[in-house]
Amino acid sequence: MAKQAKKLVIVTEKILLKKIANIIAECGATGYTVVETGGKGSRNVRSSGQPNVSDTQANIKFEVITENRDMAQNIADKIAVNFFNDYAGIAYICDAEVLYAHTFCGPDGC
């Protein structure tokens, strides 16, 4: 029995990890997954594998499963307003169906 949910994906700079994790928690999401990542965007190739001793080139990707679109959008707004003027970053929302998460509550209740 799949539960409808939204998946919010945020790709941004690694040094924002803690701050974004705090925002996600504040907005009421119960969890998130974060992976180190890299790629190319408006700020050129980042996390390119070239030597980088200061960690300022490293990127991370957050995935947050939320019960509804509002929460996802709320998180994305806060992050965009606080950081995306000055830091590399993109946020997007996808539809998701949660299959086996016994603690996850969808719009229809737990």
């Binding site: 030597p51 980088n52 300022t56 995306f84 003027n85 000055d86």
Partner: protein
């Protein structure tokens, strides 16, 4: 003339040191597109090892020495950290096509201290058998923290002034020329529903100093150094120091230098985008900062008998620019500054100049002037 010939002989000898050799080697193989990779974990560990070694020897020295001797050099280190930011603020920031926040961040990074340059300087001093106060390594935080704090405060004052202007006269939006990168300077970023929200941003323009200090203390370089210091003062680490940290020090430093060389090459491309003023600043600033610190060190030499090696080391840390712990602090503290500008300037030009020219220059000068 003796002075000059003596100086140039020593300067020439320094150029053959392994430290510099590995640095140049790193630049050369990166330039040839070598696939050589040193894993991240390795050089993070090396930085830890080097700074804990410097900390331990400093701690042991502090335990056995008279602390009042440290006061004047420590004061001079603080003065240098602050002064370097203002020098950058009133030189680099005045250049055409240089954004003021970028210039302040660059100056802050040059004021901050590089653990690898410090370690390289210590190795050269030891290799030459020059006496120096082992606690001189402990001057690191006295220069590092004031520089980062000053840079972040000065930049915040600058941006909040600009913001006030923006709210009083709308025409501020006639944007500054973009000095760097291929991305826009930022103002028009949230084009969607965030635009109205972004107006709320910038109400808080008070700069809190303590979080900046805390962040630099928690950075990997300073925590290792301070831990070493504390262990050196409070425990008796001589056995592990002599059997483990001391013998590994030089070998590990050579690997770190190789990585720094490779990184220097990979940042040159970014530096090219931000323009020639950064490169010119990054070339001359380390030498100028070192000379000022050398002068202050000479005062300490005459007043409190600060050794020639110590004076050279003070000049070396003033000439160095942070590579590892400074950039993340500045990135978080001055978000609007372009990291390509300050990291490019520091890593691609500043550090190689400080190591290749600065270290032999100040040590040679100290020997020539004080016969260390």
């Amino acid at each position: 003339m003796d002075f000059l010939s003596d100086f140039f002989t020593k300067f020439g000898a320094q150029l053959q040191s392994p430290t510099l050799g590995f640095l140049i080697g790193g630049i050369v193989i990166a330039a040839f597109g070598s696939q050589l990779q040193i894993p991240d974990a390795i050089y993070k560990f090396i930085v830890f090892m080097l700074l804990i070694k410097v900390g331990l020897s400093g701690g042991i020295a502090i335990r056995n020495s008279n602390l009042t001797e440290m006061l004047l050099p420590a004061l001079f280190a603080v003065v240098m950290g602050i002064l370097i930011v203002f020098i950058g603020r009133y030189t680099l920031a005045k250049m055409p096509n240089v954004k003021t926040v970028d210039a302040i961040a660059t100056a802050g990074l040059f004021g901050a201290v590089s653990g690898s340059t410090l370690a390289a300087g210590i190795t050269v001093l030891e290799a030459q058998g020059i006496e120096y106060e082992a606690w001189a390594g402990a001057l690191y935080p006295f220069m590092d923290i004031p520089a980062l704090v000053t840079a972040i405060v000065v930049a915040s004052i600058h941006t909040s002034k600009k913001r006030d202007k923006y709210f009083s006269e709308e025409e501020y939006l006639s944007k500054q020329p973009v000095a760097a990168g291929e991305y826009p300077s930022g103002q028009e970023y949230p084009t969607t529903r965030q635009e109205y929200l972004s107006q709320q941003r910038g109400t808080a323009n008070k700069v809190e100093i303590w979080p900046i200090v805390q962040e630099s203390l928690q950075g990997s370089a300073l925590s290792a150094l301070l831990l070493g210091l504390a262990l050196g003062i409070l425990t008796r680490p001589e056995s592990v120091f002599e059997s483990f940290y001391e013998p590994l020090f030089r070998g590990l430093l050579s690997i770190l230098m190789l990585v720094m060389g490779m990184e220097a090459w990979s940042r040159i491309g970014e530096l090219r985008k931000v323009g020639q003023w950064y490169a010119i600043y990054a070339f001359f600033a380390p030498l100028l900062h070192g000379f000022i610190a050398f002068g202050l060190g000479m005062i300490a030499h005459y007043v409190t008998n600060f050794s020639a090696g110590g004076v050279a080391l003070l000049a070396i840390i003033a000439a160095s620019s942070s590579d590892i712990s400074g950039p993340p602090t500045l990135r978080a503290g001055i978000p609007s500054a372009n990291p390509s500008a300050y990291i490019g300037a520091s890593t691609a030009v500043g550090t190689p100049v400080a190591i290749a020219l600065g270290i032999p220059l100040y040590i040679g000068l100290a020997q020539a002037l004080m016969g260390g």
